[in-house]
């Protein structure tokens, strides 16, 4: 009999403790959703799991990374408020939004500066040394909203006097910088445009692939793909997330994670960093003449 009574009392206590939890806890426990795009190499799931744990500890809320195939989908999710944070490309960032719903949160520092470029790559055995050599060939873009993987190579092509839409025999999108490298390495495409950061990152992690490619053009430098947050997101949450991201270089765990990303740090960004991208985009809209 004693046992029964004890169990009943335990059950009662349990019920009371559940009721006693504050109502705001439900809001607190809702995961913070963070969008990822092709700007990072997304294959290493274990890394993102560790990064997720790191951010959860810093902001005190569960974090979920959300992956989509294209920038456009991630932008859509930001606009509708389904995600509050995202790591996007500079080109989508500079595109006009009415009303503006994004704020810069941080920009990665890569090889000492918050800048990167676009590489035009061909297969190692390809004799092409410049863009005109690729006339009538197959070219791989990463994403129609990518700066380094679409905007810049088309801009470079117009610089040679060619019309990007008819210059190649075929073009296709891989929606992933790493896969652009693979497409060129496997000779599915004769040439491709790739984020310099991704290529350098792959050169360290998957040299067998990058070794089958060679860089024929390195573009001018542009602002590194930034981390953005939704203007309409909870102010406190935005503050905590930005602090967590910017503070990664301050502690050992964060530095280890940055090391895995081959980044120096995440730093405070000035929107003017992306003016060069904005200028290129503007010129392309105006007819593609530099």
């Amino acid at each position: 009999m004693a046992g029964l009574v004890t169990r009943r009392r335990t059950l009662a206590l349990l019920g009371a403790s559940m009721l006693a939890r504050p109502l705001w806890a439900a809001e607190e426990e809702r995961p913070v959703r963070f969008g990822l795009t092709a700007v990072v190499v997304r294959e290493n799931l274990q890394f993102f799991e560790r990064w997720r744990h790191y951010l959860e500890q810093r902001i005190g809320r569960p974090v979920r990374f959300v992956q989509r195939r294209s920038y456009r989908e991630i932008m859509g999710l930001l606009q509708t408020g389904e995600i509050d944070f995202a790591w996007i490309c500079g080109y989508p960032y500079v595109q006009k939004r009415e009303p503006e719903f994004l704020e810069l949160m941080a920009v990665p520092v890569f090889m000492g500066e918050p800048l990167y470029s676009s590489y035009i790559i061909v297969h190692r055995d390809n004799h092409a040394t410049s863009l005109p050599d690729l006339k009538g060939k197959v070219f791989a873009y990463s994403d129609p909203d990518s700066n380094s993987g679409y905007l810049v190579p088309r801009y470079l092509l117009t610089g040679t006097g060619a019309l990007p839409d008819s210059f190649y025999r075929l073009t296709f999108f891989t929606y992933n910088h790493a896969e652009t490298v693979e497409a060129v390495a496997n000779r599915v495409a004769d040439g491709g445009a790739v984020d310099s950061y991704v290529w350098e990152f792959m050169a360290k992690t998957r040299p067998a692939v990058t070794e089958r490619t060679k860089i024929i053009i390195r573009s001018q430098k542009f602002g590194f793909p930034p981390l953005v947050m939704r203007s309409g997101a909870d102010q406190e949450l935005k503050r905590r997330m930005q602090a967590a991201i910017l503070g990664m270089r301050e502690d050992i765990d964060g530095r280890a994670l940055l090391g895995e990303l081959s980044l120096d740090s995440f730093s405070q960004a000035n929107p003017a960093l992306f003016d060069s991208i904005r200028a290129v985009a503007q010129r392309m809209i105006e007819g593609g003449k530099p």
């Binding site: 197959v138 791989a140 075929l170 296709f172 999108f173 896969e179 497409a183 496997n186 599915v188 495409a189």
Partner: protein
């Protein structure tokens, strides 16, 4: 190396060989059937695999085909054809490609040689025909093609979007897998066959040993029995309750009974011998007693009348006759006892010596003696025995003829035997007498002792010979003696020496 005819081989060789041959034959036949079936199965398997992979690509490709997503098509081709198991033991993919309805390459596993957007290079007319057919009938097709580099299974599957064909997936799997896997299967199957053959032959050897051992024992047992030797007979151990076991049991039973019978016969012979001895003793007593009675009477009368010269004159000859008769009986018996003496081998001429004795016996009676003797100095015979046998028979013949007639003596050496015939045309022997002809003290003559033919019989028997009588009362008699080969063989040997 010489081969004897299989019919002369031992069962212990033939039986395991047969079992091994049967096992190997069955194993190889079944193995070949399985290998052929396995080859078909592997081929069907490969065709199915080619179709499944092509279908898999086609199933996910339609959207990419519509959107000209060359990279997506290439990736799905590559992932579908990538080895799935860690050994890399996947079917070797010779080629995989996606074409649009115009025959342009949308994706190719070998993009370097087959750039996207270009018409397919290197397609042979047959392949073009199949491609057109698949595009027209909108149904998958599979066939096996052969090139100088080896055969391949080619599956062509249409890529459909809402019922209409937007492209085709072509997949080529090397048929080398069929050969390698068939060889592997064959190796396993024939390994099993050889193992079965080894086990089968061992089993065959064991079974045949088990079967043949009692048979060998039976054979040697029968050999022993054939030689009439029952003393060294060891019963064959029956191992199983099968037919051979039954045979062994009946053989053991038979030899046991034979041995028992032999013993019984020996006992019977012994008791007959004793009975004969008794008869001889009784005969001797009787024969000696008969004259003794008369002689004792004579002596009694002579003692009562000692001076009577006439009585002496009358009884002395009677006493002499009686004593002579007793002497004859005793001499006959002694002659019989002499037959126990050692054999006296000599040349065949001794038989010829008997002729003079018989001629003297005939005297001036009108008896014709026909003499045809092949036994001469070059043959060696048991002289003492044979002389007495021949003499006895000839004397009997002369007595049977009486005052006038013919007596014939013939000898022959044929094969491994001596044949001696003594024939006369005398009184002959009645049937009731024939039955007792060789009994001791049996005689039809008042003056005979009844020992002559008995002794003859004993001597012939001692020489391992046979004696036969043919007789018809009033017409005559024929005595035939056969003395077996041993005597001749020995005689020939010593004759040559």
């Amino acid at each position: 190396m010489t081969f004897s005819h299989p019919r002369t081989w031992s069962l212990s060789v033939k039986l395991p060989l047969t079992i091994t041959a049967v096992v190997v034959g069955v194993a190889i036949t079944v193995g070949m059937a399985i290998v052929v079936q396995e080859r078909d199965r592997i081929r069907e398997n490969l065709e199915e695999k080619a179709l499944v992979i092509a279908r898999g690509v086609a199933g996910v490709a339609y959207e990419a085909v519509l959107r000209n997503d060359y990279w997506g098509l290439y990736k799905s081709l590559q992932s579908m054809t990538a080895p799935t198991d860690p050994d890399g033991n996947a079917p070797s993919i010779l080629g995989g490609l996606v074409l649009d309805t115009e025959g342009r390459v949308l994706a190719h596993l070998n993009p370097e040689a087959n750039p996207v957007g270009m018409p397919l290079l290197g397609a042979n007319p047959e392949q073009r025909k199949w491609l057109r057919e698949v595009l027209e009938v909108n149904a998958p097709h599979i066939h096996i093609a052969k090139t100088e580099k080896g055969g391949y299974v080619e599956s062509i599957v249409p890529v459909q979007s809402e019922g209409s064909v937007v492209g085709v997936v072509v997949l080529q799997l090397s048929t080398e897998e069929i050969n390698t896997r068939t060889l592997a299967a064959a190796a396993i199957i024939f390994g099993i066959a050889i193992a079965l053959a080894v086990v089968g032959s061992l089993l065959g050897a064991y079974i045949s040993r088990r079967m043949i051992r009692p048979l060998n024992a039976l054979a040697s047992g029968m050999d022993t029995v054939g030689r009439g030797d029952f003393t060294r007979l060891i019963p064959v151990k029956p191992r199983d309750k099968d037919e051979i076991g039954q045979l062994v049991e009946s053989f053991n039973r038979m030899t046991g009974e034979l041995a028992g019978k032999k013993q019984l016969e020996q006992q019977l012979a012994m008791s007959e011998k004793l009975a004969a001895l008794g008869r001889i003793a009784a005969g001797v007593a009787h024969e000696v007693n008969n004259p003794l009675g008369g002689m004792l009477n004579c002596l009694d009368i002579l003692r009562k009348k000692p001076g009577d010269e006439a009585l002496v004159q009358r009884y002395l000859p009677m006493l002499e006759r009686g004593l002579n008769r007793i002497q004859a009986i005793v001499q006959g018996l002694l002659a019989e006892l002499r037959t126990d003496q050692a054999d006296a081998w000599g040349d065949g001429g001794c038989v010829e010596d008997v002729k003079d004795l018989i001629v003297a016996e005939i005297g001036d009676r009108q008896i014709q003696l026909l003499w045809s003797n092949q036994i001469n100095e070059s043959t060696c015979v048991n002289c003492g025995h044979l002389q007495q046998v021949v003499h006895n028979l000839l004397r009997n013949a002369v007595q049977a003829v009486g005052e006038k007639g013919t007596v014939a003596f013939r000898t022959q050496i044929y094969g491994d035997k001596l044949l001696i015939e003594v024939e006369d045309n005398g009184v002959g022997i009645p049937e009731d007498v024939l039955a007792h002809l060789f009994d001791p003290f049996f005689t039809t003559r008042s003056s005979g002792t009844g020992l002559g033919l008995w002794i003859t019989y004993r001597l012939v028997t001692r020489m391992n010979g046979e004696i036969e009588v043919e007789s018809e009362p009033g017409k005559g008699s024929l005595f035939r003696i056969k003395v077996p080969s041993r005597a001749v063989a020995q005689s020939l040997l010593s004759g040559a020496a």
